[in-house]
Symmetry: C2
Subunit: 207 residues, 2 copies
């Protein structure tokens, strides 16, 4: 993460506003948080309000920010709910100042590729044998269970995720496939599975 | 592929020299082909010789090209045999002219991740059920069978492959995960498996 001092930040899929609030705590000048969930925005406005944070309840694709410009646009585990990735990338590019950064995390394509659930293949004793990959090049809808059933995520290949950024003018800065740390393993031993297959992908790019 | 007219090209892992020869046919000014196999270099010098092609028998890491500079450096399915990727990336950067391009293909990390062979998991009738991924974050040696037994390939994550380029000054231009085409499927029906998991990764970057 770059320094947030005096930065204007846009958080796409801000949820309960915890990250928006932490940006202010780290010196950000102004934060706009957008989320499709009115429950989350209501919570954010109650529990994480601040004079320099503005919350907007809207789908990421539809939020109207006019000609406002940001130094940093972040999105944590929201872009895989977006149907039209190219359109959102174009929008984000437009909303960034020159040299502004876009950092987002999503479910890793290795995890989203195979249709259906239960992609840890286990033996008869329930031991995990390996992770199952299939349908990798077939981009599009994948059903998932998340809090409520029926949430749709979209699988895209690594090449689509990266090339769409580059084709729209972004410079790729870094790709991270988060690993379990010693501390994390102590707190949550099942994170050892992150060594076996990556759950998440973080992509950092610059306008 | 960029236009090759009047370009100087370096082919790392040139094998029998077919690509080196095709570069000349496409107008390249000069091609240097390097391969560790003396059999392949002998064949290349016999069957694909040309006054503007120079073949060198050496490991990619050791080949001494001094201060020569190239417009394009290519490598087809050779970099996964390299133990020290960072060192080779630095060498390639040094050998490229400003704005020169480096295009290479390797086995896809999805394919190299799991230790051991037989990563298509099949049912009792031999039908392919899915591709098995494991050990993704454990980079390093993977045994493979290729022509002769005992050839060692090295597994690296997508993030390592991409970030090492960027950290060494390259600008990422494109990632390709080749898919089966209609023509390819006609010639070789089993290419349909490329839709299920990508075998190869091509990365194009620019100095």
């Amino acid at each position: 993460m770059p320094s947030l001092a005096d930065k204007t930040v846009l958080d796409l899929g801000c949820g309960f506003g915890h990250f928006a609030r932490s940006c202010i705590d780290q010196g950000a000048a102004k934060v706009v948080g957008i989320d499709i969930s009115s429950n989350m925005i209501t919570y954010a406005e109650t529990e994480n309000s601040h004079q320099n944070i503005e919350y907007i309840c809207a789908p990421i694709e539809e939020a109207d920010l006019g000609e406002r410009k940001f130094d940093l646009i972040v999105s944590s585990l929201a872009i895989h709910y977006i149907k039209d990735y190219d359109r959102v990338v174009k929008k984000i590019y437009h909303l960034l100042r020159q040299h502004g950064e876009f950092i987002f995390s999503i479910e890793h394509p290795i995890v989203t590729a195979r249709k259906g659930m239960g992609n840890w293949v286990k033996d008869k004793d329930g031991e995990k044998l390996h992770w199952a990959v299939d349908h990798y090049q077939l981009e599009g809808e994948r059903g998932r269970h998340w809090v409520i059933d029926g949430v749709i995520t979209y699988h895209r290949t690594i090449s689509t995720l990266v090339n769409t950024l580059i084709e729209n003018g972004f410079i790729l800065e870094k790709i991270v496939e988060p690993q379990s740390t010693d501390y994390g393993l102590e707190q949550m031993p099942k994170l050892i599975n992150e060594q076996r297959r990556p759950s998440f992908l973080v992509i950092k790019s610059k306008r």
